[in-house]
Amino acid sequence: MTDLFKGYKGAALSSLKSYNVRVWSEALIKTTRGDFNGIILPRSENDDDRHIVLKLPTGYNVGIDVDTITDMTEHGYKEAHYKIPEKEFPTSPDKPNVKLFGTGGTIASRLDYRTGAVIPAFSPGELY
C-alpha cells in the first residue's frame, strides 16, 4: 500500500490519500495559486512533508504546497522505470575476473527517488 505513495509522509501523504491520487498518476491539482497538471512523482524521504512533486508536460518538476490544494483528481497513470540500457557483457573463460570499484558520477548512476540522490549502476551489463 505504501508503494502507491512512494516517499510521501505526514501532511503530503494524507493529502494524496484523501483525494485518492497515487504516485505515477496523471493528476490535475487545483490550488489557491492556480491549476497544475502533471504526473505525481515519488518524493525523497529527506524532503519535507508539506509538498507534492509533479512532473509537468514540459518535463520540469515542481512542488505543490499541500496547504494550497483545493482539489486533486487522477486522470491517468504512467509509471516510469528508470534504467540504463544493458548490453550483453562479453566474457572469456580463459581470463580472470576483474573487480570494479564505483567512485560515483552521474553517467554511471541511476536516480533513486527514495533518497533523491543517484545510486551507482549495478550490473556489468549496465556499466558496459
Binding site: 490550488t31 495559486r33 492556480g34 491549476d35 497544475f36 529527506n46 524532503d47 519535507d48 508539506r50 509538498h51 512533486v53 512532473k55 509537468l56 508536460p57 514540459t58 518535463g59 520540469y60 518538476n61 515542481v62 512542488g63 505543490i64 504546497d65 494550497t68 516510469a80 522505470h81 528508470y82 534504467k83 540504463i84 540500457p85 552521474t106 553517467i107 541511476r110 536516480l111 533523491g116 540522490a117 543517484v118
Partner: protein, 695 residues
C-alpha cells in the same frame, strides 16, 4: 508520358511564366527542360519552385495568407536579471572580459546521459556524433570551480529568485509551491558541466496584445550559458564570463497568428521585464527563441534572435520554408518509395574532376572526395526553400554542423548559386562513375576521412526526411531574415532532477510581500502615455528603457508636463544616445537634477534641450556652468519684446518672401537664443503674431 520541350528564352520573365504555366498544366515531372543551357534553365527551377510554394515578400503578405498557411508562432524570451552574483555561486555577475583575455583553459568532451524517465534526447545524441573538443576560457574573477562542476552548487541567489518571482507575478502565472532545480542537458558545449540548472517559477499566465491575449506556458529561472568564441571543424571555443548569470525564460503558447503579432508579443514581454527595473539591458542581455509552424509542418525553433525587429521577417520566411519542404515531400512521394530509396556513394580520385581540382588544388592527403547519387532527386536540390537559398543548403548546413565539414563543403548537379554548382565536365564524369539516371541528382562532398561516414549518413538522413516534410530542428536566424540549421530539436527527455539541490519552498508570505510592490501593467503604461499625449514614436524607447517612472518623477516634481518630459527623453536623449554612448557618470538622476535646477531658477523648460548635450558629455559639470557654456544670460520678457519692432522694420526692408509667417519666423530666429530659458518660445511667437510690441 507527355514530354514538353521548352527552348530556353533569353527573357527570363517570359520563360518563367511559360514554365510556370506548363508546370500547372502538366505537372512538374513532365516538364523536361531543354538542356542547351543548364545554368539558365535550372536557375528557373528556383523561380518555378518559388512560385509553386507561393512565396511572397512580407510586405505583400496579408493576415489571410498566414491564416491559409496555418501560421502559428510562440516565443521563448530570455532576460538576464540585475543581480550582484551568479545564480549558484558567489562569482560576480555582469562582468565581461575580452574574448582573448583569460587566465586558464579547460578542455572537455560531452557524453549524453539518460533522462529521469530513462530516455536519450535526440539533440544530445546528435551533438555526441559531432565529436567536438570543447575549450573553455576562464578568468579568475568571473569563474570558479562551480562552473566546471568541481564544486556542488551554493544556495540559490535570493535576489535572483525574488526578481524572477516578481516578474512571474506580473505575468499572472500560477506560482509553484516549491522550486525544483532540474538539470537540463546541453551537449553543444555551451555549459561545461553538460547541463544547465533551471527551475520552474510559475505556469499558465497571460499577456494582453492589441487584438488578443497570449497565454504563457511557464517562466523559469536558470543559468546563462557561455559565449561562443569560435566553432571550426571539431573544435569549439567558449568564454565563461557570462556562464551562470541568472536569467529568466518566459515561454508563450503558439498563440500568435502573424509575424507582426509575434513581434508585438516580444516587445510586450521585453517591456514587462524592463518595467520591473531589475533586469539587465544591452547587447546579449535579452535574447529570443522563436517557434514557428504551419499546417502539415512542425515546430521549428529559431534560436538566439538578437533583435525583436528581426522576428517578423524570420518567421515569415520560416513559414514559407516549411511550405517549400512540404511541396518537396509531395513531389518526392509522387514517384519514389522512401522504403526502397537508397543513395549510392563512391570515392572519387581528384584527377577525375578537373574543374573541382582547379578550385581545390591543396586538398590534404587525409581528405577524401566522395560522389553521391540521389535517385529521383532531380530538381529537388535547386528547389526554393528561402530567399536565395535552396534544398542543397539544407544538406550543406547539416554537413557543417553534424559532420564538421567546413563550408564550402558541397557541390551539386543543379544550378542554385555559382558557389554550389558542379562544372559540366565534372558532372558528366560523376554521372558516369555513379551510373546515374536522368532523374537523379548528384552531390560531391569532401573532408577528412574520419568525417566522411558521418557526412554520408547525414546526407542520407536529411534526404529521407525530405519524404516526410519538415524535420524537427532548431535553426539560427540571420540578419537577412533567413535561417540555417543549428541542431536537432530537443525534447523533454533531457531533464534530470538536480540531486545536488534541495527543493526551495516558495512561501505565501514572500508572494504577498512581492505582490504589494508590482509596477503597473504594460497595457496600462501604453494607456498612460496616450493620455499624456506623448508621441507614439517614443513608446518603444520609453518602455524598453522603463522610463515611464522617470517621466512621472520629473514631471511631478519639476513642474513639467509629462508630454514635454516624454519628448525630452524619447527624442532629445535618444538622439544623443544615437550619436555617442553614455559618458560614465551620466544617469537618469542627472536628468532629474537638471530639470530640478531649471525649475528652481524659474527658467523656461525649452532650455533643457540645450543644456542636456553638455551634461551628457560632462556628467559631473556644475549646472551653473552649463548655462555659461550655452551662453545663457538672464533677460526680462519686456527687454526681449522690445527688440521686436526694430527687427520687424529690418525684415520689411529685406523681405522677398510671400510666406505670411516669414516675418514671425525671421524674428523668432533672431530672438531665439536670447529668449531661451527666459520666455516660453510659443508665448513669444504668439506675442509677435499679436503685435504686442506696439505695432
Amino acid at each position: 508520358m507527355v514530354t514538353i520541350r521548352v527552348k530556353v528564352l533569353q527573357d527570363s520573365l517570359v520563360q518563367s511564366s511559360i514554365l510556370s504555366y506548363l508546370l500547372r498544366r502538366f505537372g512538374y515531372e513532365r516538364c523536361k527542360l531543354f538542356e542547351g543551357d543548364r545554368k539558365h534553365s535550372l536557375e528557373t527551377n528556383y523561380e518555378i519552385s518559388k512560385q509553386r510554394v507561393g512565396y511572397k515578400p512580407r510586405r505583400d503578405t496579408l493576415p489571410s495568407d498566414y491564416s491559409a498557411l496555418g501560421f502559428k508562432c510562440g516565443l521563448e524570451i530570455h532576460q538576464q536579471l540585475m543581480t550582484e552574483r551568479k545564480l549558484f555561486c558567489r562569482c560576480p555577475a555582469g562582468l565581461y572580459n575580452d574574448k582573448t583575455d583569460y587566465d586558464a583553459e579547460v578542455v572537455r568532451h560531452m557524453r549524453p546521459t539518460l533522462s529521469e524517465l530513462g530516455e536519450y534526447d535526440g539533440t544530445a545524441l546528435m551533438e555526441f556524433r559531432t565529436r567536438k573538443t570543447i575549450v573553455y576560457r576562464l578568468k579568475n574573477r568571473t569563474a570558479c570551480t562551480y562552473e566546471v562542476d568541481d564544486t556542488p552548487p551554493f544556495k540559490i541567489d535570493r535576489q535572483a529568485l525574488e526578481i524572477a518571482l516578481r516578474i512571474a507575478l506580473m505575468l499572472k502565472t500560477n506560482i509553484v509551491g516549491e522550486l525544483h532545480i532540474t538539470r537540463k542537458q546541453y551537449l553543444d558545449g555551451s555549459i561545461p558541466t553538460g547541463f544547465q540548472r533551471t527551475g520552474i517559477i510559475g505556469i499558465e499566465g497571460e499577456i494582453p496584445l492589441s487584438n488578443r491575449k497570449v497565454r504563457i506556458i511557464q517562466i523559469s529561472l536558470e543559468e546563462d550559458s557561455c559565449r561562443e568564441v569560435s566553432d571550426i571543424g571539431h573544435m569549439r571555443t567558449y568564454i565563461t564570463d557570462r556562464l551562470g548569470m541568472p536569467l529568466i525564460e518566459t515561454v508563450t503558447y503558439p498563440d500568435m497568428t502573424t509575424p507582426d503579432e509575434a513581434a508585438e508579443a516580444g516587445y510586450y514581454l521585453r517591456y514587462l521585464a524592463r518595467s520591473s527595473g531589475q533586469v539587465r539591458s544591452g547587447i546579449g542581455a535579452a535574447r529570443q527563441d522563436v517557434n514557428v509552424s504551419i499546417t502539415g509542418g512542425t515546430r521549428i525553433e529559431i534560436k538566439g534572435v538578437a533583435h525583436i525587429a528581426w522576428i517578423p521577417e524570420l518567421t515569415h520566411n520560416e513559414a514559407f520554408r516549411q511550405k517549400a519542404l512540404l511541396e518537396i515531400a509531395e513531389q518526392l512521394n509522387l514517384n519514389l518509395d522512401v522504403a526502397r530509396w537508397k543513395l549510392i556513394h563512391k570515392n572519387v580520385p581528384p584527377r577525375l574532376l578537373s574543374g573541382f581540382y582547379s578550385m581545390m588544388p591543396d586538398l590534404p592527403a587525409s581528405h577524401r572526395l566522395i560522389a553521391v547519387n540521389l535517385p529521383g532527386f532531380k530538381n529537388i536540390l535547386s528547389f526554393f526553400t528561402q530567399p536565395r537559398r535552396v534544398f542543397a543548403d539544407e544538406l550543406s548546413d547539416r554537413l557543417k554542423v553534424i559532420a564538421c565539414l567546413e563550408k564550402p563543403n558541397i557541390l551539386v548537379s543543379e544550378h542554385c548559386r555559382d558557389e554550389l554548382v558542379l562544372s559540366e565536365t565534372d558532372l558528366d564524369s560523376l554521372r558516369e562513375l555513379l551510373k546515374s539516371r536522368d532523374n537523379d541528382a548528384q552531390v560531391l562532398i569532401w573532408g577528412h576521412e574520419d568525417d566522411i561516414p558521418t557526412a554520408i549518413e547525414t546526407i542520407d538522413e536529411r534526404c529521407r526526411m525530405a519524404f516526410e516534410g519538415v524535420p524537427n530542428e532548431t535553426r539560427k536566424g540571420l540578419p537577412d531574415g533567413t535561417t540555417i540549421f543549428e541542431r536537432v530539436l530537443p525534447g523533454a527527455d533531457r531533464m534530470y532532477p538536480d540531486t545536488d539541490s534541495a527543493p526551495i519552498p516558495i512561501e505565501d508570505d514572500l508572494i504577498e510581500k512581492l505582490q504589494q510592490d508590482l509596477p503597473p501593467e504594460i497595457c496600462d503604461r501604453f494607456e498612460q502615455l496616450r493620455e499624456w499625449d506623448v508621441p507614439e514614436d517614443t513608446y518603444e524607447y520609453l518602455l524598453s528603457k522603463n522610463l515611464v517612472p522617470v517621466i512621472e518623477r520629473i514631471s511631478g516634481e519639476c513642474g513639467l508636463t509629462p508630454r514635454f518630459v516624454g519628448c525630452f527623453l524619447g527624442h532629445t536623449l535618444k538622439r544623443l544616445e544615437g550619436c555617442k554612448p553614455w559618458t560614465p557618470g551620466f544617469s537618469y538622476s542627472k536628468i532629474y537634477g537638471l530639470a530640478r535646477f531649471v525649475a528652481d531658477l524659474g527658467l523656461d523648460n525649452a532650455i533643457l534641450k540645450e543644456m542636456l548635450p553638455v551634461v551628457y558629455e560632462h556628467p559631473n559639470i556644475v549646472f551653473d556652468s552649463v548655462l555659461t557654456t550655452i551662453g545663457y544670460s538672464k533677460i526680462s520678457r519686456e527687454q526681449i519684446l522690445s527688440h521686436v519692432p526694430i527687427l520687424r522694420q529690418k525684415f520689411n526692408d529685406v523681405c522677398t518672401s510671400k510666406n505670411p509667417n516669414a516675418c514671425t519666423d525671421w524674428i523668432m530666429g533672431n530672438l531665439r537664443k536670447m529668449a531661451l530659458g527666459n520666455i516660453c518660445l510659443a508665448e513669444l511667437r504668439a506675442a509677435i503674431d499679436k503685435g504686442v510690441d506696439g505695432d
